[in-house]
């Protein structure tokens, strides 16, 4: 996982929701919503982190499994909103 953006988001998720877990197990395709890691509260925390960190804003309908179910999808959405995000 060389992408810096992905790494930052991964770090946030590891620190906030998965303390003590092995970071190697969280890959770009690990299911986060369907895997029970991101529930509604965790999803909101993540969204607010990204909004603050990258100056983007999310719409409620974007907060779903299609956009946030794994790191790759999250990064894709973030890049679409802010191409310069890193």
């Amino acid at each position: 996982m060389s992408d810096e953006l992905m790494q930052k988001i991964k770090n946030f998720i590891m620190e906030e929701f998965l303390p003590g877990e092995d970071p190697d197990e969280l890959t770009a395709t690990t299911p986060l919503i369907s895997g029970g890691i991101l529930d509604s509260i965790a999803t909101l925390k993540l969204v607010m982190f990204m909004e603050e960190q990258y100056g983007v804003s999310f719409e409620p309908h974007e907060v779903d499994k299609e956009n946030l179910d794994d790191l790759a999808s999250i990064v894709r959405l973030l890049r679409a909103k802010n191409p310069s995000a890193a």
């Binding site: 929701f17 998965l18 299911p31 369907s34 029970g36 529930d39 909101l44 719409e59 409620p60």
Partner: protein, 849 residues
């Protein structure tokens, strides 16, 4: 087994889908088809749900066999066509066409070439029109039968659909829309999970076809297991509030009430499992909700589709709108808003299914309490976090023990809260609690220990049926999961075979015999017999089998009740028939004479040489659902005059004093009235469960503080400790032990009053049209009648050899129809022919002499 995808399983996903999208190997197809054959056997053996559902299951399984081999682009249109066919197949051609027509109008309105707001306004207008029609404020050219299904298809899915039309830019095809709304097997279920449209579309062959189909089979089997567990609890576990007399019964009451929810989880698994057979890899609807370890966990595990629907449509938009207030405040307000809406939408759902609005305090309180608990739990999780794991959570004995303790506490708290929600009123629920002061016997440990055992076994994570896990560790786990599904199905089929279950033991055979048939429980039967379900406000009623029977009943059923055939008197009898009332029903004219009898006109003074018998009883005597002249009393009177059985009298008059809703004690009011008409005979009609009904009626009288004009009954009430104004359930608990004595006093008064006036007094026992638990009290009833000196005519076998459906008015109305009344009249005539003295006295002589 938990179906949550672990990281390892997800990684394995890619390796599994080695078949092209939507393709299945012939060998795998054969395995699925064999399992579906087994499922069909199971559905048949255990009569799972309605015949209509079993028909649709056959349609779906046959459709699957064709669908699986169609070219991929043709599959969704095929599923859509199959779904559309299922509607007229279930509801009939006319109703089916109406339902599809209304549905297509609603779908078309979503796609009109106007702005989102205009389309929204049009949809609201259409909704208002339908609401007016559902509430019977506007006329409808279609049958009422379509409302629950139309409601189930559109009341929530239309919201999800319209929301996605606005936000999801992917074009929608006609097949997607029609299959989404008219989805097989919705046509026979008024209760369906709220499937999200976006998820529905995206999940179509989103993963390996074989795995999707197999997951469908697993969930269907899991659903059947849930439904059988539900059936056991429904038949043998549920108690009436008045039966809760000690701690053991209290615990049984609260646990059984909660576990009745298994019906919903079973049906949802069945429905979603079936949809998987057409390539939709939908998420789980429920996730081991009995093992929730907190209130938020419970909300996330039970009815997941509902939680997701509320989250998407209301929760996230609310949080985003409020986030300037800060995360915590936004979450608190949005969560409470979601629970407020859940309550309102529950009432909205009730409206579409029943045609009236549900406004019950305990319903509001339940959602308020659950909402507050979830908010508190959410705040705790925000502050302290919650355990999450990327793989299998590492468990220590301390963490396992803590999870078990939390789960156990959550389970019991939810059971108590659920009992509150499903009670008919707050006072009913409060009346349960004094039972905890009763004796703590070893029986009181049964449910606490059983629930602990289930939670311990669930927490240590034994393999279960159903979850399709990717073969992350090779083929073995996959085969093991399949073997579990097949073993469950085969095992259930095996024990359903008569030769097998009778060879185990007589008790087991009786249990299996009962489990194999879908029928109403003894409690629901009692409610149906009393017509009691009309006023019920149990908020989970539309999950119940009783509600399903009731929901088929047209709102204007027989019309007479609404037209005001009865009036309130304010006395012990509460109501009587309105004199000189006439109404036309679909079963004929109902005429009440000037004296308030459903009969022809008679002078008050008995004519000379006339045998006059007053027939006292409830609605069966009054002739609910048959036209004038077709009641057994009128038929018998006509025949006794046409073909006399006695020469003692020139004429016979049978006066019908039947009043709908009358119970044995209220028939004393009819007796008082009948004496003014100088009868030579009294025929007191008993229709089953006389003892309990007598006690129940006195409990109602006590609750309503009505006067009791019969000193012997008032004395029993006093002796029982029941006092005026007391809660009805509490009063019933006190009066039930006196049930036989109450009946003895009622029958005794009939016998004594008659004897004092030289009137012959007869107890005529008329059975219900169908067999059931109403028969339990019959021997004691007849014994009491004989002991107090009533002549007994027992027509217990009058309907023997006839199919119940040919005898009753309708599935929701067990009153005898014309054939039923004719059978009673004929049987009674034969009985009087054989022994005329019973009615005509010793000087009766023989017929035609």
């Amino acid at each position: 087994m938990d179906s949550t995808l672990t990281a390892a399983q997800a990684a394995a996903r890619a390796t599994v889908a080695d078949e092209p999208r939507g393709r299945i190997r012939l060998r795998d197809f054969a395995a699925i088809a064999l399992q579906l054959g087994l499922v069909l056997l199971l559905l048949r053996q255990f009569q799972i749900e309605s015949p209509a559902f079993r028909l649709l299951a056959m349609l779906a399984f046959a459709g699957f066999a064709v669908h699986a081999f169609l070219p991929l682009p043709a599959r969704l249109p095929f599923f859509s066509a199959l779904s559309l066919i299922s509607i007229p197949l279930t509801l009939g051609l006319v109703n089916g066409v109406w339902l599809i027509g209304i549905g297509l109008v609603l779908i078309a309105a979503c796609h009109l070439p106007y702005s989102f707001r205009v389309r929204g306004a049009i949809l609201l207008g259409l909704g208002a029109l339908l609401i007016g029609q559902r509430a019977s404020l506007l006329p409808t050219p279609w049958s009422e039968a379509i409302w629950p299904i139309l409601g189930a298809m559109f009341m929530f899915r239309l919201i999800a659909y319209f929301y996605d039309l606005r936000h999801d830019k992917a074009p929608v095809t006609l097949a997607q829309s029609t299959s989404y709304f008219f989805m097989l097997p919705n046509a026979c279920f008024p209760l369906l999970p709220v499937i999200d449209f976006k998820t529905y579309r995206r999940s179509h062959y989103s993963t390996d076809a074989h795995r999707t189909y197999q997951k469908g089979v697993d969930w269907i089997v899991r659903g059947i297991v849930h439904l059988l567990l539900y059936r056991y609890i429904y038949y043998y576990g549920t108690l009436a509030p008045s039966e809760v007399t000690g701690p053991a019964e209290f615990l049984q009451y609260v646990v059984s009430n909660f576990l009745l929810y298994l019906r919903v989880s079973g049906l949802f698994h069945l429905v979603v499992g079936m949809v998987h057979l057409f390539g939709f890899d939908l998420p789980e609807t429920h996730k081991r909700y009995l093992l929730a370890a907190s209130f938020t966990d419970f909300w996330r595990r039970i009815n997941i589709y509902w939680k997701d629907f509320m989250q998407k449509i209301f929760y996230f938009p609310a949080v985003f709108a409020l986030k300037r207030l800060g995360t915590n405040k936004a979450i608190i307000i949005a969560t409470l808003y979601v629970f407020l809406l859940t309550w309102l939408l529950h009432s909205y759902q009730w409206f579409w299914l029943r045609g009236s609005w549900l406004l019950a305090w305990h319903d509001m309180l339940f959602w308020a309490v659950l909402g507050l608990l979830v908010v508190a739990n959410s705040l705790y999780e925000i502050k302290h976090g919650r355990n999450r794991s990327l793989g299998k959570a590492k468990k220590t004995w301390q963490s396992t023990a803590l999870t078990i303790a939390k789960t156990y506490a959550t389970f019991w708290f939810i059971c108590i809260l659920w009992s509150f929600w499903t009670s008919e009123s707050i006072t009913d629920w409060l009346a349960l609690w004094p039972a905890l002061k009763g004796p703590y016997t070893s029986e009181a440990l049964f449910f606490p220990l059983l629930s602990l055992l289930v939670i311990v076994l669930g927490t240590v994570d034994l393999p279960g049926i159903g979850a399709v896990t990717a073969p992350a560790n090779g083929l073995r786990p996959w085969l093991r999961d399949r073997a579990i599904t097949v073993a469950w199905a085969l095992g259930l089929v095996l024990i359903s075979i008569e030769g097998v279950h009778t060879s185990v033991s007589a008790e087991f055979a009786t249990l299996m015999h009962s489990m194999r048939s879908a029928h109403l429980s003894r409690l629901d039967n009692a409610k149906l017999e009393r017509g009691y379900y009309e006023g019920l406000l149990s908020v989970d009623r539309f999950n119940s089998q009783l509600w399903e029977v009731y929901s088929k009943k047209p709102a204007n059923w027989l019309d007479v009740e609404n037209a005001g055939i009865r009036r309130f008197t304010g006395g012990f009898g509460q109501t009587d028939l309105i004199p000189s009332f006439v109404s036309t029903t679909k079963y004929g004219t109902v005429t009440i004479n000037r004296w308030g009898m459903r009969d022809q006109d008679y002078p008050q003074e008995r004519p000379a040489e006339t045998l006059r018998a007053a027939v006292l009883g409830p609605s069966t005597v009054m002739g609910w659902g048959v036209g004038d002249g077709m009641t057994f009393e009128a038929l018998l009177e006509e025949r006794l005059n046409r073909e006399p059985v006695s020469k003692a009298f020139k004429h016979v008059e049978l006066l019908n004093f039947g009043v709908p809703g009358y119970q044995p004690p209220t028939q004393l009011v009819s007796l008082d009235k009948a004496l003014d008409f100088q009868p030579n005979a009294i025929i007191f009609v008993a229709t089953g469960r006389e003892i309990r009904r007598s006690a129940s009626y006195l409990a109602e009288v006590v609750h309503k503080s009505l006067p009791i004009p019969y000193p012997e009954l008032a004395a029993i009430v006093k002796q029982s400790g029941a006092v005026a104004g007391m809660d009805e359930t509490e009063a019933l608990k006190l009066l039930l032990p006196y049930g036989p004595e109450i009946l003895r006093k009622v029958y005794g008064r009939v016998a004594n009053t008659s004897a004092q006036r030289g009137i012959r007094a007869i107890l005529l026992f008329l059975p219900q049209v169908r067999e059931g638990s109403w028969q339990e009290e019959t021997p004691e009833t007849l014994r009491i009648a004989s002991e107090v000196g009533l002549e007994v005519i027992n027509l217990a076998d009058v309907y023997a050899g006839h199919d119940v459906d040919t005898l009753r008015l309708a599935e929701w109305d067990d009153h005898p129809n014309e054939l039923g009344h004719r059978l009673v009249a004929d049987a009674l005539y034969r009985r009087l022919q054989a022994d005329p003295a019973i009615l005509f006295g010793r000087a009766a002589g023989g017929a035609g002499n």
